[in-house]
Amino acid sequence: MNPSEIQKIAHLARVHISDDVAEETAKSITEVLGLVDQLQAADTDGVAPMAHPLDAVQRLRADVVTETNVREKMQSIAPATEEGLYLVPKVID
């Protein structure tokens, strides 16, 4: 991992990282990846990949409306609203 890769990931996650920190982070992540490499050396033939660490399955919910309108409460803590909408800096893809 080099600092420019760290900056790319930071950008994707919308996190600001200074060049100094990027340098340090690159080192630590490289170490972590070294550990991952070591793990990958383990023989996993015949072991099913795990989607979740808990050996449990998801319980599903009945399709019944249980939520009520909380717009007023939620918008009272929003920076800007108008006509029931949340206002955000203009974004056009």
């Binding site: 979740h52 449990a56 998801q58 599903l60 399709d63 249980t66 939520e67 800096p89």
Partner: protein, 479 residues
């Protein structure tokens, strides 16, 4: 050079559940902005998603209907990107272990049946809506739609033209409507298409570079968009250029598409399994239970229409495609007792009227019983086929029921032989020269010449003479 078009579709279908895929908020269309956005939908810290069983049931119904394999272990992943209509910063979706694997949808291309293979279909959540009207230089966000359950259906690149793409889209629309898993309201965004398009020289095996045009929400837009994009790509290549892999956005107002982003700047979504949701396990018992819930599907209905009503493959295909037209046809036939005539009227007059007024059959101002009754009155000789069109016009304008219209407008067919003979006698007396010609003519010329007299009699009866009887009387009197 001859070019071949290669198309693959990604179709987003909103499932018509009562609530969202991961929260108990209503998904009813048309609510005031943000009144159906709960703490879970808004991604408030500390909240957790709980998956909706109905979304799974509907996805499994779809899988069974297209002959797919159902994923016994279904896993949700996080697709990470930032956009204001996605409060969590990721979309919860499926990647490696989707709910529906494989399957196919058969479409009618001219006389032939063509199979479009489905790669997979996965469950995911819809995003909210961004309104880019100017709110003092800001955008407005409505999160009512955020979390609406979707299945995204991904085809193999089996489609070869805009026509095939539209045929597939219509078929899929009919299928999800018949299954009752989607309301099918395209104008409300219930079904949206992303189209992957590439071209290659005819006979070439390797696929060309493709572009993706996103979010088409009508069959017509899809057709135009594909035709334009194919033309654009061929032009670029024939001018010595090359196609850039990119995402394009189609504007339905101007009917033009423009590049949104190229692959270089494409998002890196950093998928990973969602730690908030456990894998969902589906067993064979469940699948069999769901299979029992499947209604009659268009393909089975088509076969039944051919068998039960003796319709041609073409007629059966058209009428069985959607549940609405199938019901209309069957109800009209039950009333009229004549499947062929019912089919002809439905695909002829009714369909022409719907097209002219750009409305759907469910919005038609006449119902199946009225059409059936109209046909019944043709069959029992009350009115002629020609007069039936006049009655149909009046029905369409809402002037009352069939018998009422026939009565009020005095359209009853004249079948009384005394009255008909009187008309025939008058016509014969007034056209002595033609009568002489007719009697002198060869037998093989007579049928054609008889047409003149039939026309005159019809005119005299204001179109109300019973044509069979009229023919008979004319022939006798002219002999």
């Amino acid at each position: 050079m001859q070019w071949e078009t290669v198309i693959g579709l990604e179709v987003h279908v909103q499932l018509n559940t009562n609530t969202k895929i991961f929260s108990g908020s209503s998904i009813a269309f048309g609510a005031e902005p943000n009144t159906q956005a709960s703490l879970v939908d808004l991604a408030m810290p500390g909240t957790l998603p709980v998956a909706n069983e109905e979304a799974f049931r509907k996805a499994v119904m779809f899988g069974l209907a297209i002959d797919a394999e159902i994923g016994k272990e279904s896993v949700f992943e996080r697709k990470n990107y930032f956009y204001p209509d996605l409060p969590k910063g990721y979309q919860t979706t499926q990647l490696d272990k989707p709910i529906v694997i494989g399957g196919h949808v058969d479409i009618q291309v001219g006389e032939a049946t063509k199979r479009v293979r489905i790669h997979h279909a996965h469950l995911e959540e819809d995003a909210g809506k961004s309104l880019h009207e100017d709110f003092h230089g800001m955008s407005g966000i409505d999160l009512n739609r955020a979390g609406t359950p979707l299945i995204e259906i991904v085809t193999e690149p089996d489609i070869r033209s805009a026509d095939e793409a539209v045929a597939f889209a219509r078929k899929l629309h009919a299928l999800v409507s018949s299954l009752g898993i989607c309301d099918g309201e395209m104008s409300q965004g219930s079904m949206r298409f992303d189209v992957n398009i590439s071209v290659r020289p005819m006979g070439e095996d390797k696929l060309g570079t493709r572009t993706e045009t996103k979010n088409l929400n009508s069959f017509r837009f899809m057709e135009r968009c594909i035709e334009q994009e194919v033309e654009r790509q061929i032009e670029v290549i024939e001018d010595g250029g090359s196609i850039t892999q990119e995402t394009r956005l189609y504007n339905g107002d101007t009917h033009t598409a423009k590049s949104m982003r190229s692959k270089e700047e494409a998002n890196d979504y950093r998928y990973f399994p969602c730690p908030d949701l456990l894998p969902v396990h589906i067993d064979d018992d469940y699948i069999e239970q769901v299979r029992k819930l499947l209604p009659e599907l268009p393909a089975a209905r088509k076969a039944r229409f051919e068998e039960q009503y003796g319709l041609s493959a073409y007629d059966a295909e058209l009428l069985s495609d959607s549940a609405v037209s199938a019901q209309f046809f069957e109800a009209a036939t039950a009333k009229s007792g004549d499947a062929k005539l019912s089919a002809n009227w439905l695909m002829g007059e009714v369909s022409a009227r719907l097209n002219a007024e750009e409305i759907s059959l469910s919005e038609a101002p006449i119902n199946a019983e009225q059409l059936g009754e109209l046909i019944l009155r043709i069959k029992d000789g009350t009115i002629s086929s020609k007069i039936a069109k006049t009655v149909f016009d009046a029905l369409w304008k809402g002037e009352g029921d069939v018998d009422l219209i026939i009565e009020a407008k005095g359209l009853k067919q004249v079948s009384d032989s005394g009255a008909l003979e009187k008309i025939v006698d008058e016509v014969i007396n007034n056209n002595a020269a033609q009568v002489e010609n007719y009697r002198a003519a060869d037998d093989d010329k007579k049928p054609k010449m008889l047409g003149f007299f039939v026309g005159q009699c019809m005119k005299a009866s204001k179109g109300q003479a019973n044509p069979q009887q009229l023919n008979k009387i004319l022939k006798e009197k002219l002999a």
